[in-house]
């Protein structure tokens, strides 16, 4: 924003010092330091340090109340390879994550495209679809728990009245994952409808009209114009949705707690395992290794995003 002054001639220390003093004043370096310093320090304390410390912890046996915290190398990681609960959690989380991401994004894309045909009333629909997004996970899951109730739930009442068998939504180990997917899709759909909507509005009308004049069917226009133009946004939403759903915890915590007398099936997820190991059993080193697995997963996704977007500026 401001012109940088000429660099002082070499060797002339006094002039360089003067130049340095000038730049402090001209570029308000003292103010920059005072304003940014504390905020940046907070970032280091609350973000950077804990992230690095998690990695360090994963090489130790660490119990917060025990004095001895020996360095054990990769032992925590070897243990991960044999921990069946963690494997189950990892598989469950991946399955859930893929299902929730695909269903949410496909539905959201369809709704967002359809909303462009009824642009005048679209904001009303977007607003209604956004209400679940602003609802926190805990009450959202609590609401659904009552809907899923095997005996008195409205969902089973619905199934029953159209002649379908009732389901033990939260008690059956094969069904509970669909229940959690259902809640998650319901909760996050509106966000992605709005994000897709932003991208779709940016597709020039002339392009669509020209294709229409050339006789392209709506389906062809969707496949050959809309989807290719939406590619960057689709990729962005895939990354965001995957990270959100891979971190699933609150709905699992709420929905798997005993429901209406019968204990719900204990559906294991990655965050649940980290929580248990770190804060129920206080195996912080081991939980640290599990967190590193989560970190690597997230970083891989980010890496994929960066590679695919390399030439596209304006990352979100």
């Amino acid at each position: 924003m401001m012109a940088t002054g000429d660099i002082a001639p070499r060797g002339n220390l006094a002039a360089r010092f003067q130049e340095f003093r000038d730049s402090i004043k001209r570029d308000h370096l003292l103010w920059v330091l005072l304003a940014l310093g504390p905020v940046f320090a907070l970032f280091c304390i609350i973000r950077v340090y804990p992230i690095l410390e998690t990695i360090r912890l994963s090489f130790y046996r660490y119990h917060p109340t025990q004095r001895s915290r020996p360095f054990i190398g990769l032992d925590n990681y070897w243990r991960l390879l044999e921990d069946e609960a963690f494997h189950t959690a990892l598989i469950n989380t991946l399955q859930f994550c893929v299902m929730a991401t695909v269903i949410t994004l496909v539905l959201a894309f369809a709704v967002a495209v359809l909303l462009r045909s009824i642009e005048k009333v679209a904001p009303v629909y977007e607003l209604l679809l956004y209400i679940p997004v602003v609802t926190p996970w805990v009450p959202a899951s609590v609401i659904w728990k009552w809907i899923f109730d095997p005996v008195h739930g409205i969902l089973n009442y619905g199934l029953d009245s159209i002649g379908l068998p009732k389901l033990a939504w939260l008690q059956d180990e094969h069904v509970i994952i669909y229940a959690i997917v259902l809640v998650s899709v319901w909760k996050m759909l509106g966000y992605f409808v709005v994000v897709f909507g932003v991208g779709l509005r940016n597709i020039p009308d002339e392009l669509m009209e020209a294709a229409e004049l050339d006789g392209a069917t709506p389906w062809q226009r969707l496949i050959y114009i809309v989807i290719p133009m939406m590619k960057p946004i689709i990729l962005f939403t895939v990354i965001i949705a995957t990270i959100i759903f891979f971190n699933v915890f609150a709905p699992v915590y709420v929905l798997t707690a005993s429901a209406q007398g019968a204990p719900a099936y204990d559906f294991k997820v990655v965050i649940g395992e980290i929580y248990q190991n770190a804060f129920v059993f206080y195996r912080m080193g081991y939980a640290g290794a599990q967190s590193v697995v989560l970190l690597l997963f997230v970083l891989t996704l980010v890496f994929v995003q960066f590679t695919l977007f390399r030439d596209k500026a304006g990352l979100r």
């Binding site: 103010w31 920059v32 904001p123 609802t135 926190p136 805990v138 009442y157 966000y191």
Partner: protein, 274 residues
Amino acid sequence: MFKERPIVIIAYIVCTIMAVLAVTPFFWVLMTALKPNPEINAWPPHILPEAPTLDHFYRILAEENFLRYVFNSLVIALSSMAAILFTSSLAGFIFAKYRFPGRSVLFAIILATAIIPLEVYIIPLYLMVFGVKMMDSYFSLVFPFVIMTFGVFFMRQVIMAIPDELLEAARIDGANEFWIYVRVVLALSKSGLMALGVFAFSEAWANFIWPLVVVTTKDMYTTELGLATYQRQFFIEYGPISAGAVISIMPMLIVFALLRRHIMKGIATSGLRG
């Protein structure tokens, strides 16, 4: 986009169904919260309560101490919001409008932490709070939520749109940098601040795993934690549980209803998630 008549009709049908599905669970939880106990388990279910009552709200707020939880959540969410608005706008201002050595490195360090979820580094955060013996306090509950990477990025975008000439004019009039920050920058980024404020408020209000980890006494429960714990213990009492859910959602809905235009604009410009 697609103006063909059948597509328009399909659009109305599909979008209406989705919107109804999105809203129905809220309707249902409100009805459940208003039904007296015998009606809750009625079969077939009553759509509307025949004898609506506020008993469940009274029970959950007064007898189960939810009023205290709501108060705690409000304290936490409001302090977090204030802190994030301050830190994000200040850092965003500096990154947007000043040149200094190391600027891009510092910004890159901040951005690099953006995508990493709290759950990844929650253990060291907990150990820090544990180490300074601040467990179970407002300080520890707000502590991870006084900064927001996305907030810095977002405010930088917002502030970059403010013309440099305005800042220069203020300087010529003798304003110092802090005065410019308060009277020019903050005043001109109100819409962005509101969108970010709502986002920050709801992040802190809705967070569940952090209070679950650092809170040890019932008096420090947040609404989310209270609701989750209550429904684990009294899983048959759907009346009070539903009332609790309604109470927990209310503040978000009110804020959203009041500021929806700013929020939608925030999403449109930056992918802000509410």
